[in-house]
Amino acid sequence: MTLLRRGGAPPRDTEGATPPDPSNDDRKRREQRQILLTRLDLRTSPYLFIAPFFLLFAVFGLFPLLYTVWVSLHDWTLLGGNQGFVGIDNYVRLAQDAKFWNALYNTFGMFVLGVVPQLLLAMFLADTLSRRIRAVNFFRMGLLLPYLTSVAAVAIVFSQLFGTEFGLVNYALGFFGIDPVNWKGGTFSSWAVIAVMVDWRWTGYNALIYLAAMTAISKDLYEAASIDGASRMRQFWQITVPMLRPTIIFTVIVSTIGQMQLFTEPVIFDGGSVAGGTQGQFQTVMMLIFEEGFRFNNYGYGSAIAWTLFVLIVLIGALNALLSSRIKGAQ
């Protein structure tokens, strides 16, 4: 009944309970009411404290998510409203929609291009930062700076820097005899620009996470390794990386969930359009949901895409979790 452990202290329920005064009925009644109130408080307060979170989440998080399934099984538009149950028709259409497969392909392409170099670079940066260096806080702040900037604002700057005619990147490439690249026009080149925006923002953040995990690795391991004559490179790959495995998996999961919903950077890069370039060469799934759901106002089909992406994200997350528990079990 008591919600807080009382650690063996003698029971002393309310103020004024000691010394007891049996002759005073009125006071006794007041005490009793006090005890009842306290009991009520202890019993109900915890639920009142967690209620706002769960209620608001239920209305604005859980309900829309589940309702997505319902909407996706209907022919449902903004103007026409719900025009009847159509079963899995929207999903059949999805499976045959070249735009969807293209968007999925683009999303995965940008994911690979964005996440892999980012995490590798973050790892090497963390390794560098774990040395004895001066002004360590300056460098840490410098690395985290991109994380705390406005995504849309920075995307505008990068879009200009990668401009075909006047961008600084093409200007710099010109010194190496490389002809101006039409960054936005190509599939791979447009992915590269968007990946650079993502990497620029997240590399330092992940480096700090790795750095924290590295400082927790016992220094004895490295000492033993260097006594055995293992090179710096060898130590990195055979001690640091294996010891960081749980952290690496954590960052991979977080990056995956984020990258699967990539939206702002490609939209700004395309000048505010969700089409993802003239050929849809960098249209992500999230942009397609937006295009179908809010530009064409086709709620039913948009919901089918959203639910498919949801299932994909959950599957990838579960796969990661499974992998990580396997690895933990093996150790």
């Binding site: 915890p46 309702y67 840490r140 702040m141 406005s150 939209v267 809010f294 949801f310």
Partner: protein, 305 residues
């Protein structure tokens, strides 16, 4: 503000702002590898790459649009920033003043509400005994892992039913709680608030709310500051939902710069970059005031996970 930078000496963990401690501890440990000049060169290049886009943003914002394409490029700021600023706020397409106001209001309200509700739920899940507590704690973690953003279409329909489409309330109310916030506050409660402290308050006859308000909240301050900063930043940056539910006539600051980006002004780089500077500045100020605590928290959280 300065008091928040100097954590009280009674703080039980070296969490946020512990950079200095950490560095000192690191120096003491053996086996710490020495930095070579190459280390510094590598790090300096990285920091320069981190800063350059922001520097370039300000260079163009303080010149005119020709500067963005000048050959050879101009790398030093000019004196045009006040004039560009005037142009920006006079621009009727972007509605920049309204966008800034909307973003400031929504991000501030959400930072306060997320911190409040997260600390309440976090405290209850960490320190109060009640039926269903473990289920609730697991539930919070699940809400973190589930990408609820995929419910964006029904959420928009919901806003329509409430009559909130296009209104600023539509970017506030749906985001007033955060599973991540509850999780973070619960962890911090467990490590930073000894049970004895709560027992003592109970013995003094404090109600649960009193305990929360007078004992728990003050102890949670370092974590609250970081959570508030992260929430403010996330909401200030929010783009997808705002683009879906708001209109250019009542935008957030992100929508306002997107409006410049897509309109006939899209070649006016000085204007667009000035808007970008204004959109980034509040975040940079927060970063320089609170960045160290944030670094401490990110690293702390990494070890826990």
């Amino acid at each position: 503000m300065t008091t928040t930078l100097n954590p009280p000496p009674t703080r039980p963990t070296p969490a946020g702002g512990g950079g200095r401690n950490r560095a000192r501890r690191a120096k003491g440990s053996s086996g710490m590898r020495e930095a070579t000049p190459l280390t510094y060169i590598g790090l300096t290049i990285t920091v320069l790459l981190s800063v350059f886009p922001l520097w370039w943003m300000f260079v163009v914002a303080s010149r005119d649009s020709a500067a963005a394409s000048a050959r050879p490029p101009q790398f030093l700021p000019g004196g045009n920033f006040p004039a560009n600023l005037e142009r920006l706020f006079a621009n009727t397409t972007a509605n920049f003043t309204l966008g800034l106001t909307n973003s400031a209001i929504s991000a501030t309200v959400l930072a306060v509400s997320v911190v409040l509700f997260s600390s309440m739920a976090g405290f209850a899940l960490a320190k109060l005994r009640f039926k269903g507590r473990n289920v609730a704690a697991v539930g919070v973690v699940v809400t973190m892992a589930v990408p609820v953003q995929m419910g964006i279409i029904p959420l928009l329909m919901l806003m329509g039913w409430f009559g909130w489409r296009g209104e600023i309330i539509s970017i506030i109310v749906p985001f007033m709680v955060s599973g991540f916030g509850v999780f973070m506050m619960r962890q911090y409660c467990i490590q930073a608030i000894p049970d004895e402290l709560l027992e003592a308050a109970r013995m003094d006859g404090c109600s649960t709310f009193r305990v929360y308000w007078s004992v728990v909240l003050p102890a949670l301050r370092p974590a609250m500051i970081v959570l508030g900063l992260l929430t403010f930043m996330t909401q200030w940056n929010e783009f997808t939902w705002a683009l879906a539910v708001l209109t250019p006539s009542n935008p957030t600051v992100q929508l306002a710069i997107n409006q410049l980006n897509q309109s006939a002004y899209s070649r006016d780089f000085a204007l667009m970059f000035t808007g970008s500077v204004v959109a980034t500045l509040p975040l940079l100020i927060l970063f320089f005031v609170l960045g160290r605590q944030l670094i401490g928290r990110i690293m702390e959280g990494a070890i826990k996970s």
